[in-house]
């Protein structure tokens, strides 16, 4: 299910930065051919715990991407919160992949409490089955909610539900948020919802 290319060394643009004056959590300057050590440690911990259930999307400076199947996403999120000390979700984005017949939901998870993680964003991606004719809430496009793990996903998941039709099982408040209550069209951020005239 990985559509992300695993070639972070090629992508990782050498970031020329002078030594910061702040005691910001800086890792040693990684040579461009190697993965950044700190981020590699995070992904290694996850791989060690979950084995082949998780797939490391990429490891870049400050960013680690983990692809997880939809049945494991809750466990992985709990592990991320409890063991890796991430504490809040910054963003929940849906991405529609019609060619794979899947909708990807990407959680960008950060940490306020752990100072070494202040720069880090853990990208947790999972995929839901995509329906050609969606009936939001009543079809197979479902994912387990992470609201009981990260409270901060509440409104983000509501937004993903209305914009992509991904129903979050166990979310206490699966209502529309931004769209009008009488919206009866396709979820608008799916690729098959076309803007008129484009």
């Amino acid at each position: 299910m990985s559509t992300e290319t695993e070639n972070p060394p090629a992508d990782a643009k050498p970031e020329v930065k002078s030594p910061p004056p702040k005691p910001a959590p800086k890792k040693p300057e990684a040579p461009p051919v190697e993965l950044p050590a700190f981020e590699k440690g995070i992904s290694d911990k996850l791989v060690e715990k979950f084995g082949d259930k998780v797939e490391v999307g990429f490891v870049k400076e400050d960013r680690v991407r983990i692809n997880v199947g939809r049945e494991d996403v809750h466990d992985v999120a709990e592990f991320i919160r409890d063991e890796l000390n991430y504490d809040h979700v910054e963003s929940v984005s849906g991405v529609d992949y019609p060619q794979d017949n899947e909708i990807e939901v990407v959680y960008h998870i950060g940490s306020y409490t752990e100072s070494s993680l202040a720069r880090q964003i853990l990208v947790l991606a999972t995929r839901a089955q995509r329906e050609t004719n969606p009936i939001p809430g009543n079809d197979a496009t479902k994912l387990p909610t992470l609201r009981d793990v990260f409270y901060s996903v509440e409104f983000h998941e509501r937004e993903v539900f209305e914009m992509f039709g991904v129903f979050f099982d166990g979310h206490p408040d699966n209502r529309r948020l931004l769209l009008p209550e009488d919206w009866a069209d396709l979820p608008p951020l799916r690729k098959d919802f076309a803007i008129k005239g484009r």
């Binding site: 992508d11 002078s18 910001a24 979700v89 960008h108 202040a118 996903v153 509440e154 769209l179 803007i195």
Partner: protein, 378 residues
């Protein structure tokens, strides 16, 4: 007659004592959103924010335009903070397109972004003043904001919607003699905002109204994933300009303003302190900026990215951490643009803060969340 309502219209049966108030969208104290407030006497028992009245589908529109033409419309969510709201998108596009920005452009960006932060906070402060019934505090920031708007007009040619940041730098170089004018006006501006303490921040009625109302504890601030001034007013020392410095913020001395109280007063005071910090940063940046040099890397028309890859960039905007998640697929247009906006993230605190508060505290608590309805709706 029985029929099933769609999930968004599910009706709830409420107690007879409880009165449901629709605060908004046509309400002077709501902005472009609706807060469905249930009150028992003077106490709010439940609150359900209902944003979306200015949802313009910026993210959908971004999938139809290329990386350059996305710029003027992606800044629309917060026109008062238009440089900062574009910043993560521009950073992300630069990483996807593999562009290195000239040094002078980075400083110009920092100056523009700090000026914009002040402009936004002044506007926010003006509305906070009028929400508390303090009409002088509406007029003063709205007038003093003009100083900085004039500066931005000199710099970019537009008063509010600048569209100044482009992948590869900034659109125009600074006008001649800009540094002197900027320094003079920023110094005056700082002197002026310090006067607000006397009329607003030290006002006994204001203090008695906002102290100890809408307290957001440190744990809750972290748990709700709030950001920006809301987070820093709750005692979390987190500012992306320090924690994850982008462009040239790591060469500047940035001080983070943190308050421990977590009440409305702290949330309203932290942005004011941030403005003074912004003035400091602008002065430093003006001093350290290379006096000449290019400010823009020319791009080919319709630049393409390498393949299916994604990038998540974030900056500290006037309201907090603003992230932009771009997925590209080797086409001139981005495959998906998601803006994780601070207003939307702070909104989650609103129902929890308002529960149990008095109705009279609603405007002060609501607006102290540094919430910008248009931005949350995108």
């Amino acid at each position: 007659m029985t029929f099933t309502l769609p999930p968004g219209l599910a009706l709830k049966k409420v107690d007879e004592r409880i009165m449901t108030l629709n605060v908004g969208p046509q309400h002077p104290g709501s902005g472009h959103m609706r807060i469905i407030v249930q009150i028992d006497g003077d106490y709010i028992v439940a609150c359900d924010p209902d944003p979306g009245y200015v949802h313009r589908g910026e993210e959908k529109m971004a999938e139809y335009r290329n990386y350059i033409t996305n710029i003027p419309h992606l800044e629309r969510p917060v026109i008062h903070d238009s440089c900062n709201v574009l910043y993560p998108y521009v950073l992300g596009a630069e990483e996807l397109l593999g562009i290195e920005v000239p040094e002078r452009a980075k400083y110009v960006r920092v100056i523009a972004s700090e000026l914009n932060r002040c402009i936004y906070i002044m506007y926010w402060l003006a509305i906070y003043g009028i929400f508390l019934g303090h009409s002088t505090m509406f007029m003063w920031p709205a007038g003093d904001r003009e100083l900085l708007i004039d500066l931005m007009e000199k710099m970019t040619g537009a008063r509010v919607t600048h569209a100044h940041f482009v992948p590869g730098g900034v659109r125009n170089d600074l006008p001649p003699n800009f540094e002197d004018v900027c320094l003079r006006q920023v110094n005056y501006f700082e002197k002026r905002i310090k006067e607000y303490a006397a009329v607003f921040y030290d006002n006994p009625i204001l203090i008695s109204r906002t102290k100890d109302t809408g307290i957001l504890s440190r744990q809750d601030a972290i748990r709700y994933g709030t950001t920006g001034s809301v987070l820093r007013a709750s005692g979390v020392d987190y500012d992306l300009r320090v924690k994850e410095p982008y462009d040239v913020y790591d060469e500047l001395d940035v001080h983070t303003n943190v308050m421990k109280e977590g009440d409305s007063y702290a949330r309203s005071r932290v942005p004011w302190l941030d403005m003074m910090e912004s003035c400091n940063i602008i002065r430093q940046a003006l001093q350290k900026m290379p006096k000449s040099g290019s400010v823009r890397v020319k791009l080919k028309p319709n630049p393409k990215t390498k393949g299916l890859e994604s990038v998540y960039k974030r900056v500290e905007s006037g309201r907090g951490s603003l992230g932009c998640y771009i997925v590209s697929d080797a086409k001139p247009e981005p495959y998906r643009v998601k803006m994780s906006v601070p207003s939307f993230r702070n909104l989650i605190a609103l129902p929890n803060l308002l529960r149990g508060e008095k109705l009279g505290n609603m405007p002060s608590v609501y607006w102290s969340l540094n919430y910008w309805p248009v931005e949350a709706d995108r």
